[in-house]
């Protein structure tokens, strides 16, 4: 099962390697990882989506993360009121013939067409993962050429 956790870390070189190394050394899986600076430039915020087959493993992941000297706090969103979002960029086929149809579908499913030239449209969408899945499903008939996603970011209330 997938769980979203956030990790506040000291913004020092090597911290990402410590976190990533921990996951690989202990055989945990990262589904996605997003990192950026916070309001305090000395602190970075990581949103990590982990796969854990049971509660004990999720607990171990959190404890092991906490054990890293540069980790300040670990927050598990599993039972927390929170908002999560992901940004995707999708390249799909776009001809003068289907452009209008594409635009109406994209609009319906939270997306925006950023650019359309040389038979290719680049579409951006921000949303929860279910919404993004819906958009991608509906873009399928146009021919998805490339897909780039940021991975989830999340924040608790």
């Amino acid at each position: 099962m997938k769980h979203t956790i956030s990790v506040l870390v000291e913004n020092k070189f090597g911290v990402l390697a410590r976190v990533a190394g921990l996951f690989s050394a202990r055989g945990y899986n990262i589904a996605s990882l997003a990192v950026s600076e916070t309001l305090d430039p000395d602190v970075s915020y990581m949103t990590i989506v982990v796969e854990a087959k049971d509660a004990a493993i999720l607990e171990q992941i959190k404890k092991q993360l906490n054990k890293l000297i540069d980790v300040i706090t670990v927050t598990d969103f599993t039972r927390k009121d929170h908002v999560e979002r992901e940004l995707v960029l999708v390249k799909v086929g776009c001809t003068p013939k289907n452009k209008a149809k594409l635009e109406s579908i994209v609009k319906k499913f939270i997306g925006t067409v950023i650019q359309c030239k040389n038979d290719t449209a680049i579409i951006e969408a921000v949303g929860e993962q279910a919404q993004i899945k819906q958009l991608l499903d509906n873009l399928e008939p146009f021919g998805v050429k490339e897909l780039v996603r940021t991975g989830k970011i999340a924040v608790a209330y």
Partner: protein, 554 residues
């Protein structure tokens, strides 16, 4: 001050007395400063030995051991020693030289990404990028290494930083928002634990190296006597409880005593203190102590409920938490019946061995124990001799049994003995070794002779890599694939370095040889020619339940 001088001033502030190490190109500025520094510097013959010696020094004294090596190969030679200290939670500082800052990442001569390589085997590590951070980094490194669950910390210092100039700003206190170990148990959890202890009928205390680290051996003894519960120790825990105490059951697990394993499996309450339910202890997890509730006291939250689900977790330092429990406990459980059962197991299944015409390795260990009256510091290598030492040497005091537990590092015992002797010069230090292990750091004979470190090495020479041979005998149809050893003449090797060698082939010569070695003020190798195919029993086959032992059950 130069970076090198700042480092030396910082080490002085930390009370460092001894440093083990080896020079090289990228630590030349540091070694130049060491030339005038007030430390005893022990030049080992291999960097691995420097790390093990620092580790042994730390285990024997409780202080933080320090080792130094150059960049690249010097640093990579430390790796086994660092990993060893990490697995056994030993506070240690490893200082490595690094190529000049502007060459990092350039595949420079003798460059290796040492902070990258050591990330998973250190508690923390630092690459010093700015000289103004150096003093603070050293202070933090010592604090991290020695607090909470201790461990090795590595500081990688580019040679230009060693030469750069800056004032010496020593931080008087260390405050880290991201690192605050929990040292006292939660009062609510202490109350729950006491309630479980008082209502138990068949309690057992299972203690490990965390008790020794915390200095909680007196509290452990008081606690065991107060609740009148039997005590079993892990390999790392030996010495945390007196080996001759009537409540002591010996070590548990794969080569533990039958009675310790039976008591653990049949207990209704396991009080785990500073131990981590390692697979060598628990055997098959699915059947481990099914009827027991478990109280787990550990300073490292990630050790709790990692392998075995725990009923009452208590995060805290073993000494503090045992003290809290002793303060809280008013009634004591009635364990008379239980102790009778345990005593019956002890009587029925004692540790035993048979004389077959050649010297028994177990006998040698017993004799070392008798001659030294249990007052020596014992170190071991890894293999059969290590398990025999754990079974047959009665460890009376904490920090007097030094063995590679988690990593199982052959070649550890000899340099660790040097480190222990440097820390405790008044003690007799015996490395109990095998003929395979001793050859993994045999070059340290030179270090011992040169620096007058008169440790004693008892080589239980059976001509085999005995533990592997034992597994091949029992589980691989006697197919002895590459385990038969061709050995040098250990007596001559010792003599060639300027040490003393004694060969013993008869049982009656064992004790006189031990006595002679102790009376000799030099490094002594005693080459005991022992029964070649003796096995370590009892033994729990890998992955089996720990009450399903084979061999050696009388």
């Amino acid at each position: 001050m130069t970076g090198s001088q700042i480092l030396i001033e910082s080490l002085k502030k930390q009370g460092v007395e001894v440093i083990f190490g080896y020079p090289g190109g990228q630590v030349l500025p540091l070694f130049d400063a060491l030339y005038d520094a007030p430390f005893r510097f022990i030049l080992t013959r291999h960097e691995q030995a420097a790390a093990h010696a620092a580790d042994g020094y730390s285990r024997a004294t409780g202080k933080v051991g320090v080792c130094i090596a150059t960049s690249g190969p010097g640093a990579t030679n430390l790796i086994t020693g660092i990993a060893n200290a990490y697995m056994d939670s030993i506070p240690m500082i490893a200082i490595t030289g690094q190529v000049k800052s502007w060459l990092i990442g350039n595949d420079a001569f003798q460059e290796a990404d040492v902070t990258g390589i050591t990330r998973p085997i250190t508690k923390h590590n630092y690459l010093v990028k700015d000289i103004k951070d150096l003093a603070r980094i050293v202070a933090e490194a010592f604090y991290i290494a020695s607090s909470g669950r201790p461990g090795p910390v590595l500081i990688d210092i580019p040679s230009d930083i060693q030469q750069a100039e800056h004032e010496f700003n020593w931080p008087e206190s260390i405050e880290m928002r991201s690192y605050k170990p929990t040292l006292f148990g939660h009062p609510g959890q202490i109350k729950k634990a006491v309630k479980a202890i008082v209502s138990s009928k068949k309690p057992i205390i299972y203690a490990g190296g965390g008790v020794i680290t915390a200095g909680g051996h007196n509290e452990l003894r008081e606690f065991a006597e107060k609740i009148n519960a039997p005590v079993t120790l892990t390999l790392m825990g030996l010495g945390a409880f007196p080996g001759n105490h009537p409540l002591f059951l010996g070590m548990l697990g794969m080569h533990g005593t039958a009675y310790a394993n039976y008591a653990t499996m049949n207990a209704d309450l396991i009080i785990a203190v500073g131990a981590r339910f390692d697979d060598r202890v628990t055997g098959k997890l699915a059947t481990f102590a099914k009827n027991a509730r478990i109280i787990h006291i550990d300073v490292d939250p990630s050790s709790i409920s990692k392998n075995v689900p725990v009923d009452i977790p208590i995060v805290g330092d073993a000494k503090n938490v045992l003290g809290q429990i002793l303060e809280e406990i008013k009634k004591t459980p009635d364990t008379a019946e239980w102790l009778k059962t345990v005593e019956a197991w002890r009587k029925k299944h004692p540790l035993t061995y048979q004389y077959k015409g050649k010297i028994n390795p177990q006998y040698v260990i017993e004799q070392i124990g008798e001659v030294t009256k249990g007052e020596a510091i014992i170190t071991t290598e890894v293999g059969q001799h290590q398990m025999w030492a754990a079974q047959w040497y009665k460890v009376l005091h904490p920090r007097s049994f030094i063995s590679s537990g988690g990593l199982g590092t052959m070649g550890f015992g000899f340099p660790a003995a040097m480190g222990a002797k440097m820390g405790c010069p008044e003690k007799t230090v015996f490395d109990i070794a095998g003929d395979g292990s001793i050859q993994m750091n045999i070059q340290e004979l030179a270090t011992c002779v040169c620096n007058k470190i008169p440790v004693k090495v008892a080589i239980l020479n059976n001509g085999w890599l005995g533990m592997v041979r034992q597994w091949q005998e029992l589980f691989y149809k006697h197919r002895y694939s590459h385990t038969c050893m061709f050995n040098p003449d250990f007596v001559k090797v010792a003599e060639a370095y300027g040490g003393v060698g004694i060969r013993v082939t008869k049982k009656e010569d064992v004790r006189p040889a031990i006595e002679k070695a102790i009376a000799t003020d030099n490094i002594v190798f005693i080459d005991f020619h022992v029964e070649p195919e003796e096995n370590v029993f009892p033994m729990v086959p890998a992955g089996e339940s720990i009450d399903k032992m084979i061999g050696g059950l009388a």
